[in-house]
Amino acid sequence: MAKFLVRNLFSMFVTMFLVSLVLFFLLEVAGGDVTVRLLGVFATPEQRESLRRQLGLDAPAWQRYVDWLIGSDWRAQQLSPYPLTMAPNPQTGEQEWWTEVDGVLTRWRMVEGELLAIQRTPDGREVTSPASVPWTTDETGAEVFWGVDTRNNLVKWVRGSDLEVLVLSKAGVRSERGGPQQYIPLRKGIVRGDAGMSLQTNRPVSATIFSRAANSLILAAAAFVLVMPLALFFGVLAGVNEGKPLDRIISITGLGFTATPEFVVGVFLILIFGIWLRWLPATAVFLTGDAIFRDPKILVLPVLTLMAAEFGYVARITRASMVEVMQSPYIRTAFIKGLPRRRIIFRHALRNALMAPITVVMLQINWLIGGVIVVEVLFGIPGLGSYIYDAAIFGDFNAVAAAAMLTVLIAVMTRLIGDMLYTYLNPRIRFA
């Protein structure tokens, strides 16, 4: 069992690594020019080039991938003469990057060719003064200094440089003289819990994503827990009565539910139960963060929608499994022995027949996640699914990447558990 676990865990890590590669290169490399999205189509090539540099996009793709995955601070630290550190902004509480110069938090700013040091005093104020920094001479003979700027980048300033930097703001693009030559955006990397800033909300992605995931998990778990007994029951019922009218009715109903898209089921559930009859809340309005617990009724229609989608699938597998078991030699033997039908079904057939569906369903988690996205968008539930949907519509790369990573991680873990459960329940595999 331990060996099995280790092998699967290893495989999971490799999978996640590959997934991160796929995601990064799909979004960052194939994703087209992010400057078009930020600056609009009318920007000049110079503006684009300047913004690309400010975003660190002039670095090679593999470098940016490594930065995204495990962070850029370790790389930046080798260039910076002072130790890099993170400190919360006393006003906003947001984490900012600083350097520690003789124990004082320091950042720099270039104003009209003169480098100014911004130092944070112990009482949280910021004091600006002309900076004296250790300029070093690089291979081209220019005097350079690597320091942290006010936008969380490690930047390379060149003394006496007259480089024009075009800074993007909502009023348009603004020109600054004496700007840095190179930027390394500082980040800790997604595996260290820093998924970067969301372009859409301008807050760290990791600040919102976990509470969203919790809502989704509750939704999915509720649907799962409720639909399983129901679907198993009807699946067994159909399987036992294979070919009879009852089987046909159950099978066709199940197929009907499966073939009707979640959004259609949801739209009509809202219309009928939420609006015409007014038995249940039509949408999931989260007036508070814990609305699910305060008013569980809001989850009824979303859960029903998910259940409708899952029911047919689980019932179908159960039926097939039951049919197979019922035709197996040992059940036939039991019938021949003259045991009561009820007893054969409950004592012998059921246990073996249910093993497959319970585990196979866990392997099909991806299918459930797709349904969760639709249901969340339809009912307005602030979950991971609606988060990734909003982010995708907006073109919010960091958020899409992080949410997709998390979704895949959940899927992979669930499947791992499903695999283990299956192995545990099925001794033939366990001891093979």
Binding site: T15, A30, P261, F263, V264, G370, V374, A392, V408, A411
Partner: protein
């Protein structure tokens, strides 16, 4: 030598006519498959018809909005006064019958988005699966590990990622169906290959000194075609479903041609005035998916009975 080589070939590959007749026999012997085929053929017929004729131009706003079904508009009209039945008919095209490549002017190729997507999945998945199964060892492990990474993506999530990075379009939808479908096909084909690999005629071919590609493409895949075909049919169902979902999310096939999912999404705003405008395209999606599913199910049962 020549005769020796061709005789087993003849055994394995009967004439085309014979194959078709066998397949039809298989279909006719299953009531489930018959029903499914009838539904699928109905929609195929509707789609073909719509290429030449619809009651009204599908995009023309010729009537008052949100009419209930009446003599002129059998399914009523939508919120822009367009005939719903004409739009349902035309909606079959982008799924089953035509793919629009973004060019100026747009190039239209035969075969719908769902069909090309599944063909892509079968080709990519089939090749990967047969290689993994037949070659085994390290190749097998690498292929399956990579496929695991793709299979780990929920379909809609992967599609959202692709839309974020590449935009929208028929080709993108095809690519998404291919990418999300091929791991499943590959697993199936790998399993079948592992089984077929042990058969005598593969040994014979190996002894003859045939190349690996010859064996994989000419010996293994043709003998695995039954289950692959059934799987492909099921996948067409999933693809139609996925296209509908994408249309509903507002990420579907680009306008102006109607697709069923987008029709549901558009009509949703007016559901209080005209619930039927939502119900019709939904019914179209559901029946087509059911039809394809029943057909695949029936075929599978028959094939299994055949093999038993």
């Amino acid at each position: 030598m020549t005769t020796a080589a061709t005789t087993p070939e003849m055994d394995k590959r009967p004439s085309l006519l014979r194959q078709v007749r066998d397949a039809l026999d298989l279909v006719f012997s299953s009531r489930t498959a018959m029903v499914g085929l009838a539904i699928a053929l109905f929609w195929l017929g509707v789609g073909l018809l719509s290429l030449f004729w619809t009651p009204y131009p599908p995009n023309a706003q010729m009537f008052s909005a949100n009419q209930p079904p009446n003599a002129a508009n059998w399914m009523g009209t939508d919120h822009l006064g367009r005939d719903i039945w004409s739009r349902i008919m035309a909606g079959t095209q982008v799924v089953l019958l035509k793919t629009r490549l973004s060019a100026d002017p747009p190039i239209v190729i035969p075969g719908g988005v769902a069909i090309w997507g599944v063909i892509g999945a079968v080709v990519v998945g089939g090749l990967l699966g047969v290689n993994a199964g037949y070659r085994g060892g390290i190749a097998d492990q690498i292929i399956m590990q990579i496929l695991d990474a793709f299979i780990a993506f929920p379909v809609i999530v992967l599609y959202l990622v692709i839309v974020t990075s590449l935009g929208r379009g028929d080709l993108i939808v095809i690519a998404a169906i291919t990418i999300t479908g091929s791991p499943g096909v590959a697993r199936l084909v790998r399993g079948l290959t592992l089984d077929i690999k042990t058969r005598d005629y593969i040994r014979a071919a190996e002894t003859r000194g045939e190349s690996k590609w010859y064996i994989m493409l000419r010996e293994i895949l043709p003998n695995a075609r039954g289950p692959i075909l059934v799987d492909a049919m099921l996948r067409v169902g999933y693809a139609i479903f996925a296209i509908g979902t994408l249309g509903f999310l507002g990420l579907g096939l680009p306008p102006p041609d109607p697709d069923w999912g987008s029709m549901v999404n558009d009509a949703r705003k007016y559901i209080y005035a005209n619930p039927l405008a939502v119900a019709w395209p939904a019914l179209a999606i559901a029946t087509l998916v059911i039809g394809v599913n029943l057909f695949a199910d029936g075929l599978r049962e028959e094939i299994m009975r055949y093999q038993r």
